[in-house]
C-alpha cells in the first residue's frame, strides 16, 4: 500500500498543502510504531520465560499494531519529505530504513501468527534486525530535525571523537568588557545559534540556508541576497526578521521565539558595517551610538547602578528625614531610588541628620546639601552613601580634610564644590572617583595651576571653575 502511494506521490512535484499539513504530523505519528514495536520485541523476549508465557498470545497483535502504525508513519513521513527541506542523503536512508521496518514488522507478524514454532532462528534474526533498524531510523530522523550535531553537542569528548566529531570547542569566554566584544562571534553568531540554526543547519537546510558559520551565512540560501554587506534593507535575512509576525515569510517561522528588537538593530547594524567576519564592536562603532545597547545586550551594564532593583525605603526613616527638613523625592516609578534635598530647609543641619540619612544608603542617588552648613566631619558619613550619583555641597565650609572621606563614592558622576574651601585635595580625590564626569570648582581655593594639573591628569572630566 505504501508503495502505491509512493508511486503516486512521486509525480507530485508541487505537493498540495493538505499533504504538507499531514506531513507535519509525522513526528507525532512516528512514535506509535516505535512504541508498539518495542513492546512487541519485549513481549517476544519475555514470553520465553515460563512466568510470562501467557503473554505469547499477544505477540502477533503487538507486531500487527506496530506494522500498521508504521504504514501510517511512513505515509506521513513521505508527505513531510515532499517539502524538500531536508538533507537528501540522510533522508534517503531514513526513508528506506523506515520502509524496511514496516515490511519486516509485517514479516514478523506473519511468522508469529503462522509458523510460531517452526522458524525460530529466522524469527530471532528478524526481531533483532527490526530492533536495530528502529533505532537507526529514529536516529536519522533526529538528525533530520535537529541537525547531525545535535545529539553530540554536549557529549563528552571521547564519545564525540568516536562519533567522528572533533572535541568540543572551548566555549567562547563570556564578554567581560565592552571593548573585547566581537561583532560576529559575540553578537551575530550567538544570535543565530539561539534563534536560527535549529532549522538552518547541516541536516535541515530550510530554504537551502545554513546559519551555522560565517562562511555558510555569506553563501546564502535559495535567495542570493540573504546578506548584502553594507545594505541591511536589501538583505533578505533582515526583510524576513522584520516582517509582521503573521506574514508567511516571517522568520523564525512556526511560532519559534522571534528575534528581539535589540537583536534586529544589531544585525542591521552589522550588515550596514559591511557584515565583517570579526572586529571589535567599539572600533566599528566609532560614534558610540550602540555602546549602551550592546552593553545591555551582553549584560555588561549590570554594574550600572540603576539596573539594580532595590527594596522600598523604610517609611519611618523617610518621615524622620522629612520632619528634619529634607525634601525627599522619588526619582523613578518602578524603582525606589531617591533624591534628598536639604538646601531649602529652614533648620540647621546636624550630625544626627546625617546618621538618619544613612538609613537610605541604598536609595539615595542624588543628594543636595547646598548652603546647609555642612562640616568636614559630616563628610565621613556622607562618604558612606555609596550609591550617590550626584552630590551637591556648594556653599559649605568644607576643606580638603573632609574631601578625603568621599573617595569611596564609586558611583559619583557629578560633584558640586562651588563656593567651598577645598583646594589641592581634589587632585587626590578625583582619580579615586572613577565615574566622575563633572566637577564644579568655581570660587573655591583651588588655584589655576591645580586646575591645569587636574585637567591634564583627568582627560574627559568636565571641570567648571570659572564663570566665563
Amino acid at each position: 500500500m505504501g508503495f502505491v502511494l509512493l508511486m503516486i506521490g512521486g509525480i507530485l512535484d508541487n505537493p498540495p498543502d493538505i499533504l504538507l499539513f499531514l506531513g507535519r504530523f509525522h513526528p507525532v505519528v512516528v512514535h506509535l510504531p516505535i512504541g508498539f514495536l518495542i513492546m512487541a520485541i519485549l513481549i517476544q523476549m519475555a514470553s520465553r520465560w515460563p512466568k510470562y508465557k501467557p503473554l505469547a498470545i499477544y505477540t502477533p497483535l503487538a507486531w500487527f499494531m506496530g506494522a500498521v502504525s508504521a504504514v501510517v508513519a511512513v505515509i506521513f513521513g513521505y508527505f513531510l519529505s515532499l517539502s524538500g527541506d531536508y538533507d537528501e542523503d540522510t533522508l534517503f536512508y531514513h526513508q528506506w530504513a523506515g520502509i524496511a521496518v514496516m515490511f519486516l514488522s509485517f514479516g514478523c507478524y506473519f511468522i508469529n501468527k503462522k509458523w510460531n514454532n517452526s522458524l525460530s532462528v529466522p524469527k530471532w534474526i528478524l526481531v533483532f534486525l527490526i530492533g536495530f533498524l528502529l533505532m537507526y531510523t529514529g536516529h536519522l530522523g533526529g538528525n533530520l530535525t535537529h541537525g547531525s550535531t545535535y545529539l553530540w553537542q554536549y557529549a563528552p569528548n571521547p564519545v564525540r571523537n568516536m562519533a567522528g566529531l572533533p572535541s568540543k570547542m572551548e566555549p567562547r569566554k563570556k564578554v567581560a568588557v565592552l571593548d573585547s566584544a566581537d561583532v560576529f562571534l559575540d553578537l551575530v553568531l550567538p544570535m543565530m545559534q539561539s534563534k536560527c540554526v535549529s532549522c538552518h543547519n547541516e541536516g535541515k537546510k530550510k530554504g537551502g540556508l545554513m546559519l551555522t558559520s560565517y562562511e555558510m551565512m555569506m553563501l546564502g540560501g535559495e535567495s542570493d541576497n540573504t546578506i548584502v554587506p553594507g545594505d541591511a534593507l536589501k538583505s533578505e535575512l533582515v526583510r524576513r526578521i522584520t516582517l509582521p509576525m503573521e506574514h508567511d515569510d516571517f522568520m523564525p517561522s512556526e511560532g519559534k521565539l522571534p528575534l528581539t528588537d535589540q537583536e534586529v538593530v544589531l544585525i542591521k547594524w552589522w550588515i550596514k558595517m559591511g557584515a565583517p567576519s570579526s572586529g571589535f564592536v567599539t572600533q566599528l562603532d566609532t560614534e558610540k551610538s550602540l555602546s549602551s545597547l550592546v552593553s545591555n545586550y551582553l549584560g555588561l551594564d549590570k554594574n550600572n547602578l540603576f539596573n539594580n532593583k532595590i527594596p522600598p525605603p523604610d517609611r519611618a526613616v523617610v518621615d524622620s528625614l522629612i520632619s528634619r527638613g529634607f525634601v525627599i523625592n522619588p526619582l523613578m516609578k518602578d524603582n525606589y531610588f531617591l533624591d534628598a534635598n536639604y538646601s531649602l530647609s529652614e533648620y540647621t543641619l546636624k550630625a544626627s541628620d546625617i546618621d538618619v540619612l544613612l538609613g537610605l544608603k541604598e536609595h539615595l542617588v542624588w543628594l543636595n546639601l547646598g548652603n546647609s552648613k555642612v562640616k568636614d566631619a559630616y563628610l565621613e558619613k556622607i562618604g558612606l552613601l555609596h550609591n550617590l550619583v550626584k552630590l551637591d555641597l556648594k556653599g559649605n565650609e568644607i576643606t580638603d580634610a573632609g574631601l578625603k572621606s568621599l573617595s569611596q563614592l564609586e558611583n559619583l558622576e557629578s560633584l558640586n564644590l562651588y563656593g567651598t574651601k577645598v583646594s589641592k585635595g581634589i587632585l587626590e580625590l578625583v582619580p579615586q572617583l572613577t565615574k566622575l564626569k563633572k566637577i564644579y570648582l568655581w570660587q573655591t581655593e583651588v588655584k589655576k595651576e591645580t586646575i591645569i594639573q587636574l585637567e591634564k591628569e583627568n582627560p574627559g572630566l568636565t571641570i567648571i571653575y570659572e564663570r566665563e
Binding site: 540603576f306 517609611r315 523617610v318 518621615d319 522629612i322 520632619s323 525634601v327 525627599i328 523625592n329 522619588p330 526619582l331 523613578m332 516609578k333 531610588f337 534635598n341 538646601s343 531649602l344 530647609s345 529652614e346 533648620y347 548652603n371 550626584k390 551637591d392 556648594k394 556653599g395 557629578s414 558640586n416 562651588y418 563656593g419 563633572k438 564644579y440 568655581w442 570660587q443 567648571i464 570659572e466 564663570r467 566665563e468
Partner: protein
C-alpha cells in the same frame, strides 16, 4: 569678612529662614509613597485616583526645573539662527516666482528680503549665529538648536495657546501647570509655577498660564517687574496682628462654607492661597531684593547697562535663577516692552529697528543666565528653553517687515540633558519651510517632559470623560538633541 566676601555664595538669611519655617508642614504622605505636593495644595485627593497613585518622575530625570524664555511675537529665524545666503543673493526679487507663497496674515507680500545681519560661526561646534545675539553666541556649545519647528497656527493668540498648552483653543492647562501636577513643588512658600512679567503679557492673556482643568493650585503666579513684584506683598495694615486676625476670620468663614457644601476645590484652594500669600510676604521680598548678588553677577547679566529694557530683563533673569535655586519648578519670562513703535518681536514693519531693540534687551541677560547657572552647577538640573510661537517670512511684508510664518522657525534649549552644540532639522534654501526632521510643538512638549523624567503618554488627568495629556494624542521625542 575677607576681601572676597562679595563673591561668596548665598547663605540663608534670618529673614529667609523665618520665611521658610513658616511653611513647616514638610510634605504630606499618601498612597504609600511620598513626594512633594503642589504649591498651595493641601489635599492630594485629585491624585488619589487609580491612574495617579504616583507623584514624581516616571524615569530618572535629567532636569528638575525649567526656565522658559518666551520670545513673544515670533523671532525671525532667518535673522537669528538659520542663515540663508540665498536671500542675500536674491534680495529684492519676487518670491512668487521662486516658490509657492502661502497666504499671510496681512496679505502684503513684498520682495525677498535678505537678513540685515551678518552671521558668524561660534564655539567649538561652529554654530552660526547672527549679529543680533553676540552674547548668546558665546554659549552655543551648551545650546541644542532646532531649526525645524512648525506651529499649527499663523496667528498670535492661537499660536500662544498652542505653544503654552498644546491646544490652539483657550482653556487648557499650561505646560508649567502640567509639570507641577506631575512633579510637585519643593518649595512651600513660593508658587511652583511663576511667570515673570517683563512688561508684556502675550496675546491670549493669562489663559496662557492657567491650570485649565487641573486643580487651581497649579496655575501660574505672575510676578511683575519693579519694586513690588507681587501686589500687596508688603502688608497694608499698620499693626501686624490686624492682618493675621483678618486672615483668621476669612478662613473661618470659608471653612464654614465648606462644612455646608462639602469639598470644593475652588474654596479650598482659596483658603490655602490666603495662607500662602501670608507666607509670601516674607519669602518674596527676600527673593526679589538681590542683596547677596555681587556686582560681578549683576554686571554679567547686564544690570549696569544704559538700556532700561536690558536692565529690566537682566533682573528678571537673575530672579529666574533665584527661583530655580529655591526649587521652583517652572519659571517663564515674558518679554520686556521695548516700545514705543515696537510691538514685541512681531515686526510686520521696521524689522531692523524692532529686532535690534528686542535682541539688545534680552541677549546679554540670557547669556549671563546661562553662564551663571553653569558655574553654580545649576545648568545641570535646569532646562532653559528659548522660543517664539512661530517664525517669520523670508520675504518682506511691505518693504521692511516680515509676516508670520508657522511653517518654519528656530528654537533652542540648553542645560540638563540636551546635547550642546547640536543643530537639528533643516529648512529650505529660503528658510521658508521645513524640509528635514520637522518638530511640532507637541514633539517639543514631549521632549521637555522627557527631560524632566515624565512620560508624556503617562501623565494624564481625567477630564470630560477622557484621560487628557499635554500632548493630546501626539508627540514624539526629539531624540537627536538628547545628551
Amino acid at each position: 569678612m575677607g576681601h572676597h566676601h562679595n563673591t561668596k555664595p548665598r547663605v540663608i538669611s534670618r529673614r529667609e529662614m523665618l520665611g521658610l519655617s513658616a511653611g513647616g508642614f514638610g510634605s504630606l504622605a499618601f498612597m504609600g509613597l511620598f513626594g512633594t505636593l503642589p504649591f498651595g495644595c493641601k489635599r492630594a485627593s485629585h491624585l488619589e485616583t487609580a491612574s495617579n497613585l504616583y507623584l514624581g518622575p516616571h524615569y530618572l530625570p535629567k532636569a528638575k526645573n525649567v526656565i522658559f524664555l518666551y520670545m513673544d511675537g515670533g523671532v525671525s529665524q532667518v535673522d537669528s539662527f538659520d542663515p540663508k545666503p540665498r536671500l542675500t543673493r536674491e534680495n529684492g526679487e519676487d518670491p512668487r516666482k521662486k516658490f509657492k507663497v502661502d497666504a499671510t496674515q496681512f496679505d502684503n507680500v513684498g520682495k525677498i528680503l535678505k537678513s540685515p545681519w551678518d552671521f558668524k560661526q561660534y564655539g567649538e561646534c561652529g554654530m552660526p549665529v547672527s549679529d543680533l545675539f553676540p552674547h548668546i553666541a558665546t554659549c552655543v556649545d551648551d545650546i541644542a538648536l532646532i531649526r525645524s519647528m512648525v506651529s499649527n497656527f499663523p496667528e498670535h493668540t492661537n499660536a500662544n495657546y498652542f505653544l503654552h498648552t498644546g491646544s490652539g483653543l483657550q482653556g487648557r492647562p499650561s505646560m508649567g501647570a502640567w509639570m507641577n501636577y506631575g512633579l510637585g513643588s519643593e518649595n512651600k512658600n513660593i508658587p511652583g509655577y511663576v511667570v515673570l512679567d517683563g512688561g508684556l503679557v502675550p496675546p491670549g492673556g493669562l489663559d496662557n498660564f492657567k491650570n485649565g482643568f487641573l486643580p487651581a493650585s497649579y496655575q501660574a503666579s505672575v510676578f511683575k517687574s519693579g519694586p513690588e513684584p507681587v501686589a500687596n506683598i508688603n502688608p497694608r495694615e499698620g499693626i501686624k496682628n490686624l492682618q493675621e486676625e483678618k486672615l483668621q476670620f476669612i478662613k473661618q468663614l470659608d471653612s464654614s462654607l465648606i462644612g455646608k457644601i462639602g469639598e470644593a476645590d475652588a474654596v479650598e484652594s482659596a483658603i490655602s492661597n490666603y495662607e500662602l500669600a501670608y507666607k509670601m510676604q516674607s519669602s518674596i521680598p527676600e527673593l526679589t531684593e538681590f542683596k547677596e548678588e555681587t556686582e560681578a553677577t549683576k554686571k554679567l547679566y547686564g544690570m549696569d547697562s544704559d538700556d532700561p529694557n536690558l536692565r529690566g530683563y537682566a533682573s528678571q533673569c537673575i530672579l529666574a535663577r533665584r527661583l530655580i535655586e529655591r526649587g521652583v519648578r517652572f519659571v517663564e519670562l515674558t518679554c520686556p516692552n521695548v516700545g514705543p513703535g515696537v510691538d514685541r518681536w512681531d515686526q510686520h514693519s521696521n524689522l531692523k529697528k524692532g529686532h535690534e531693540k528686542n535682541a539688545h534687551a534680552v541677549d546679554q541677560p540670557i547669556a549671563g543666565l546661562l553662564k551663571d547657572l553653569k558655574s553654580r552647577g545649576l545648568l545641570e538640573e535646569t532646562l532653559v528653553v528659548w522660543t517664539g510661537e512661530f517664525g517669520r517670512t523670508p520675504f518682506a511684508q511691505g518693504s521692511d517687515g516680515r509676516d508670520h510664518n508657522p511653517s518654519a522657525f528656530s528654537m533652542w534649549m540648553a542645560g540638563a540633558g540636551v546635547k550642546g552644540g547640536t543643530i537639528f532639522g533643516k529648512t529650505d534654501e529660503y528658510g521658508y519651510r521645513v524640509i528635514e526632521n520637522e518638530v511640532t510643538v507637541h514633539d517639543l512638549h514631549a521632549t521637555i517632559m522627557h527631560l524632566l523624567g515624565l512620560d508624556h503618554k503617562q501623565l494624564t488627568f481625567r477630564f470630560g470623560g477622557r484621560d487628557m495629556r499635554l500632548t493630546d494624542v501626539h508627540g514624539n521625542l526629539v531624540k537627536d538633541i538628547l545628551a
